[in-house]
Structure formats: structure tokens, C-alpha cells
Amino acid sequence: MSQGASAEAKAQEARDVDVTAAGRGVWLVKVPKYLSERWEKLQGNGDVGKLRITRSNSKMGPQKPDVVFTSTDAVMNQPGTAPSIPRTHKFALTGVSNQNLVVFSQPHGSEQITIEGKVIQRAECHPVADDKYMQLKRKQLEINNKPKREIVLLQSVVPMYKPRSDHISNIEEKKRNKDTEKRSRLDKEKVMDMLFAAFEKHQYYNVKDLVGITKQPIPYLKEILQEICVYNMKAPHKNMWELKPEFRHYKQSETS
């Protein structure tokens, strides 16, 4: 818990934000999942495709540029991905309207926060709805509609275990317990020493725990406990023993 606390303190620390790159404009592009999955798995130089931006200045004034994205072969023929995906996508450009979107980053293993830029253009990467795309959607649908559990007819006998009243391991355990069960009464002095040593570490003990520590029979132990301890009947430390005030080594105020 202490280690966690330090990590937490580190994360909670107020950090200066690097805003040197805040003026930079960036595009925010919404990419379909099937495409991004391939991008993430990609090996090699990291080229995923080409972006072709066509601007036409007609007499009507500047129009929205036509942006077409074409995937590379590396993305298209990626091993391990079954359904084929459309190669070309169109970017539908939408403004940021009145949203104020800012990109910030945090390097791995560091707490430094950097503002990376401001979104000046949003775009949605739409596939061209051709046969290939329809095929893809169809396959996706089939996969999604497949039930998670299916009934299978068993061909061979399945190994089964019959219930047992007692396992071998349990018997061993019981035997061991029985040996230690016999607790002999030690000298009162010695038991008290053990008890005081235990109460130095913690303030409250359960009788069961004390039996485990001192290995004394319960009636004898209780007899001694009555002498040097008080039994808590109330909520915060219910059913627990603590030392009588005169034996305590810590201050009274702390016990409350």
C-alpha cells in the first residue's frame, strides 16, 4: 500500500504543461475499426497508404477539397486477417464547428505533459461502398451473429470423477492437526512473556490467534488473559483482547 501511495503521489502532483506546440493545427480523423486494427498490427516501415488531396478552384469559389486515401499493399495483404477490405477510402471533411479540441500527450514512463496541437479539421474516413465493402460487412455480420456457445455431440467417453467422502490430503491434514492439538500448560510466567511480546506488536488480539501464538489450552489462556487484559465487547474491536491500561507501553490517547 505504501508503494502504491508513492506512485499515487507522483501522479497527483501538479505538473507544468508544455504549450510550445499548442499553436500547431492537426487533423482528427475517424477511422473504421477494421482499418485501424490492420494499422496497429503493421510491421515494416509503417507506411499505410497515400493521401491524395484534390483542390478545385471553380468559378464558384474555393470548394471543399476532395481527399482520397488509398491503402498500401502491405495493409491490404496483411497476413492473419481474413476478410479483404476496401482499398480506397474517401475522407469526408467536417469542420470542428464550435468544439475546442486540443491534443495532449504524455510520454511513457514520464509525467511530462505536452500540448501537441489544436484540431483544425475533422474528417471521417468513409469506405467507398462497393461490392467488396458489402462483402466485408456481410462477413462481419455473420461473425457477430454467431452464438458464443454451441452444442457439440460428444464422440468419446469423458473422464469423470466419482465423489469421495474424504480425500487423502484431508486425512493427512487432520492427522497433523491432532498431533498439535494437545497443548500442555506452560509456566504462567512464560505464557505471560509470550503474551506481552505479542501485545507489543499489536494492540488487539483474538483469542484464537493467541491460542495459535502461545499454544496453550483455551481455559488456561483465558485465565491469564483475565489477569492482564480487558475484553472488548463493543464495535470497533469487538471480541478482542487488549492489555489493561497499566501494562500498556503506548499512550492512552492513541488507543481511542
Binding site: G4, A5, E8, A11, Q12, A14, R15, D16, V17, T20, A22, G23, R24, G25, V26, W27, V29, K30, V31, K33, S36, W39, E40, G46, D47, V48, K50, L51, R52, I53, T54, R55, N57, S58, P65, N100, L101, V102, V103, F104, S105, Q106, P107, H108, T114, E116, K118, A123, K201, H202, Q203, Y204, Y205, D209, H237, M240, Y250, K251, E254, T255
Partner: protein, 528 residues
């Protein structure tokens, strides 16, 4: 960004750009390998208001931190902060807790400080703007977002956005919760007569201070020279308290006067202030709850208010609790519309109505035989007694028209005669209320009406419709012509309806009252 053509990454495509006005540029898009990514990119959605532009606020300090919810986490998961060793610790506590959790199948979620909301602070000190950024979960469920940035070589680099945070300004002022808002809303539109409130307060204080005044005078004459400086001697409230304890002992002023000398010596040389302070102390004991204004105790001389500041030292004036008390008290005061005075005006109308009704009944008994046709006209469709039948008709109209008229209606309902009536059953619920209202107003109306009966009926029945009568009615409250007609009809004049309307119309022309439209009805009124 796309506006400036990249110098090297761009590959102009000749043939496709054949059309005269189109330019085509081609860029490579690169996605950095997962292993090469050095940073996590997240998006922050900032509020539009106040506008935030980090590029323009470089001179301000901008800080971000994670919210610390560790304590909340601990309390929510019942993780106690008990010491692990020594005093207060329990043996084997953690293991027992763990065993208990396992038994009930509780799986604890670990507290991750990196999953807490962000706090963004722009600026420093009091001008700092604070925002809280909460992670948005569902936005990237079915799609992924990428940031496209242009590299030095002109190619686009696509970096996935891993998290979205929605930043909202942190509200740091106190606002009303739903219940409080409701309460305040109910006080809306209530016009308080502050003059009345203050007057009441003053009267209350004076009641308590009459005996004190005399006592004070005596003290004043004794220590008249230092009179104005007395207050300044008081340094703390403690002085007052000391006096309070003294005051409990002495009961009348003679006692006090006798005692004064020796006690003056006791009090660290606070000479002369004694008398007044005593008075003050006593006042405080008596109206401690009631937030006494100390000014009310003494007789106002010129310059007495000069040393007013000292008053603020006493806790009766501005301490938190009594302040709240005061506030409540203020709100408990009646609105102007509920005040006794105005209510009396409104109710007097009711009384008059009652008188009329009563009178009407009496008349009815006498004139039952000769007034048969008239009576039949009045009762109309309802089988109840004539008066109540006609009354309830009006009531229904009035109920809709205005709150002012409602008052009258309530008064009408007081008649015992009407209790069993089918016609009035709908309004019977207001009965008890109106009785109560009546009760705190004047003497029982039945007596009064009997008293007034002879003179009233004699005058009105003989005179008939007069200009004075109409003026009187209109000055009291706005009325429709129908109401007016009803008033006179209930007076049992020996006139037909046509005659009455004609007479009223003539008189109204002469009076020329103010006309106002309320709820599509013409109301006539006169300024008193």
C-alpha cells in the same frame, strides 16, 4: 496544414491534374509502429466558454494533475486506515478482511491514480481557472480516432488517440440545491413591506426596553459627562459577558444604583460605562435570539451614532447563526398582499356581502309571498335557496377572473345556510379557511350584520341605485357591469332587470370610471 504543399513528400500527379483549376497533391501516410511509440496521445475537449487558447496564454502557468480519489476509494471499499503495528492495530486484520472478501466474492479493484480525472489549472492564485476532465468511455468503442500531423518530410503521421477527456469548468461558488432552490422560488414575486418589518422589530424592542430606558436614564444622569465615550471603553465582548452575569443578580434599578459605585471599582477602571453597559447586557440576555439592534435601547442623542462601529463587536449583531435566523425571520414576514390591513379592506367587502346576504334572507322570509315571481327568476335552474343559487353562479365566474375577487368568494362561503347546498359543494372546501381568516379580522359577522341590518336595508331599499353606491363599489375593487348589477339585484329593489340595467348604465355614464380588460372582461374601477 494541408494548405501548404509539402516540399518533398508531395508527389504531383500530372495527368490527373489535367483539368485547368484542380491541383492534386499526394502524401504518404505513416503509422508509427506500436513498439516505436514513445507517448500516449489523448484528446481534451475544452469548453467554449471561457475560450481557451493555449498558444495565446503562454505567459500563464498551465498545470495539470490527476484528481486524488484515494481517500474516497478507501472509504468506498471499506479499507480502513488502521495502523498495521503497535497501538490500535489488530492482529491479522488484513488477512481476515481478505478472507471475508473472498467468502463473499468481492473482488477489489485496484486504485490506479492514472485513471483518475484530470485537473487543469490555467493561471495562478485567485484568477486561476480550473477545469476537470472526465474520461469519455464510449467514444472509441466502435471506431478509432487518429491524429494526422505533418512531419518535416511532408508525410502525414497518424497517431491513434487513446483517450478522450471532457473538460468542464469547476464550480467553486456555492449554489442552491434542488430543495433550496424550490424554497427560494416560492418566495418569488412576494413583495415585502420592509417598512412594516422594521417597525415591528422596533416595537418589539421597545416593549422590552421600556423598563430599561428608565434605568438607563438614571445611569445616564449619573455619568452624563462621560456618556458619549462609554462605548469606547468596551474592548471585547467579555466586558459584556461580565455584566450579564452581574445583571442576573440585581433585579430592580434601585439596587443597581446603590451598587454602582463599588462595582465600578471592580471593573478595571471602566468608569461611567457601567450603567449603559448594564442596560446593554440585560437587553442582550433578553433578546439574544432576536438579534437586537443595540441602538434601540438608548435614547437617540446627536452624536450617539458616531461610535456605532463598536456595536459590531457584540456577537448579537452579525454572527453567523443569528444572521441565518434573521434571514429566516425576514422571509417569514407576510407579503404585502397578505397583510392585515389590506386583507381587512378585501374582507370588508366580504362582510358587506354577508350582511347583504343575511339581510336578503331576512327579507325573503318576510316577502316570500309577494315576491314569488322575482324569486323564481333568481333561483334559475338550481333547486337551492335563492340567495345561494345566485351567489354560486357569480362565484364560478369570479373564480376564473382574478385573485382579488377570490377573496370575496371565500367570504361568501361563510354562510351556514349554504353548507348543505348541492350548488356550493365544490367550493365548500374553502370554508374552514375562510372562517379562520374571518376570525382574526373582526368581530363575528353575524352579530354585526344584525346590528347594521335595520339602518342598512332601510337606506338602500328606499334609495335604490345611486351614484354614490356605484362609486363606493367601484372604488373598492374593479367590477364588471354584471357584478354591479348583481349587487343591486341582491338589494331587493322593486325594479325589473331592464330598469336596473338602464339606471346603472345612466349612472355609469355620469361617473365615467376607468375601464380595464382582464381575462376578456371589461372591469370598471375608480381611483379613491
Amino acid at each position: 496544414m494541408a494548405a501548404k504543399p509539402g516540399p518533398s513528400g508531395m508527389v504531383p500527379v500530372g495527368p490527373s491534374a489535367a483539368a485547368s483549376n484542380t491541383t492534386t497533391q499526394e502524401y504518404t501516410v505513416r503509422v508509427p509502429l506500436v513498439s516505436d511509440r514513445k507517448k500516449r496521445v489523448a484528446m481534451m475537449r475544452l469548453p467554449n466558454r471561457p475560450p481557451i487558447d493555449f498558444s495565446k496564454s503562454t505567459d500563464l502557468s498551465i498545470k495539470m494533475e490527476r484528481e486524488n480519489n484515494f481517500k474516497e476509494y478507501k472509504t468506498a471499499n471499506d479499507i480502513d486506515m488502521m495502523p498495521k503495528f503497535g497501538a490500535g492495530s489488530e492482529f491479522g486484520r488484513d488477512q481476515k478482511e481478505e478472507a471475508r472478501r473472498k467468502k463473499y466474492g468481492i473482488i477489489l479493484k485496484k486504485y490506479n491514480p492514472d485513471e483518475q480525472p484530470w485537473h487543469l489549472k490555467i493561471g495562478s492564485g485567485k484568477q486561476a481557472k480550473k477545469f476537470r476532465g472526465v474520461r469519455e468511455g464510449t467514444i472509441s468503442e466502435n471506431t478509432s480516432y487518429y491524429i494526422f500531423t505533418q512531419c518535416a518530410d511532408g508525410a502525414f503521421e497518424a497517431i491513434p488517440v487513446e483517450e478522450w477527456y471532457n473538460f468542464t469548468p469547476m464550480i467553486r461558488y456555492k449554489y442552491l440545491n434542488a430543495e433550496e432552490a424550490e424554497e427560494e422560488f416560492s418566495r418569488r414575486d412576494k413583495t415585502l413591506n420592509y417598512f412594516n418589518i422594521m417597525l415591528k422589530k422596533r416595537v418589539k424592542n421597545e416593549d422590552k426596553d421600556t423598563e430599561l430606558d428608565e434605568e438607563e436614564k438614571a445611569a445616564k444622569s449619573k455619568a452624563s459627562k462621560s456618556g458619549k465615550k462609554r462605548r469606547e471603553f468596551m474592548l471585547t465582548d467579555m466586558d459584556d459577558w461580565a455584566n450579564i452575569s452581574d445583571d442576573d443578580e440585581d433585579i430592580d434599578e434601585e439596587d443597581e444604583d446603590g451598587d454602582e459605585k463599588p462595582r465600578d471599582d471592580d471593573k478595571k477602571g471602566g468608569k461611567g460605562k457601567k450603567g449603559k453597559a448594564n442596560a446593554k447586557g440585560k437587553a442582550k440576555v433578553k433578546n439574544s435570539k432576536q438579534n437586537s439592534d443595540d441602538e434601540a435601547i438608548e435614547e437617540s442623542d446627536d452624536g450617539d451614532y458616531d461610535d456605532k462601529e463598536v456595536d459590531y463587536m457584540s456577537d448579537s449583531s452579525s454572527s453567523g447563526l443569528s444572521g441565518a435566523d434573521e434571514k429566516n425571520k425576514k422571509y417569514e414576514e407576510k407579503g404585502v398582499a397578505e397583510e392585515d390591513g389590506l386583507r381587512n379592506i378585501l374582507n370588508s367587502e366580504d362582510e358587506e356581502d354577508e350582511e347583504e346576504n343575511k339581510e336578503e334572507e331576512d327579507n325573503e322570509d318576510e316577502e316570500k309571498k309577494d315576491e314569488k315571481p322575482a324569486k323564481e327568476k333568481k333561483t334559475g335552474s338550481e333547486s337551492s335557496s335563492s340567495s345561494s343559487g345566485s351567489d354560486s353562479d357569480i362565484d364560478k365566474d369570479e373564480k376564473i377572473t382574478s385573485a382579488l375577487l377570490m377573496q370575496k368568494e371565500k367570504g361568501d362561503k361563510k354562510k351556514p345556510n349554504e353548507k348543505g347546498d348541492a350548488g356550493s359543494s365544490s367550493t365548500n372546501t374553502t370554508d374552514s379557511k375562510s372562517v379562520k381568516r374571518k376570525g382574526d379580522g373582526d368581530a363575528p359577522p353575524s352579530k354585526k350584520s344584525k346590528r347594521d341590518h335595520s339602518s342598512y336595508s332601510g337606506g338602500s331599499s328606499s334609495d335604490g341605485i345611486t351614484e354614490d353606491a356605484i362609486r363606493r363599489y367601484l372604488q373598492r375593487k374593479p367590477m364588471t357591469t354584471k357584478d354591479l348589477l348583481q349587487k343591486f339585484r341582491s338589494k331587493k329593489l322593486n325594479l325589473t332587470k331592464e330598469q336596473m340595467t338602464h339606471a346603472i348604465a345612466q349612472l355609469l355614464k355620469r361617473i365615467n370610471p376607468e375601464r380595464t380588460m382582464i381575462n376578456k372582461k371589461l372591469y370598471l374601477s375608480l381611483k379613491a
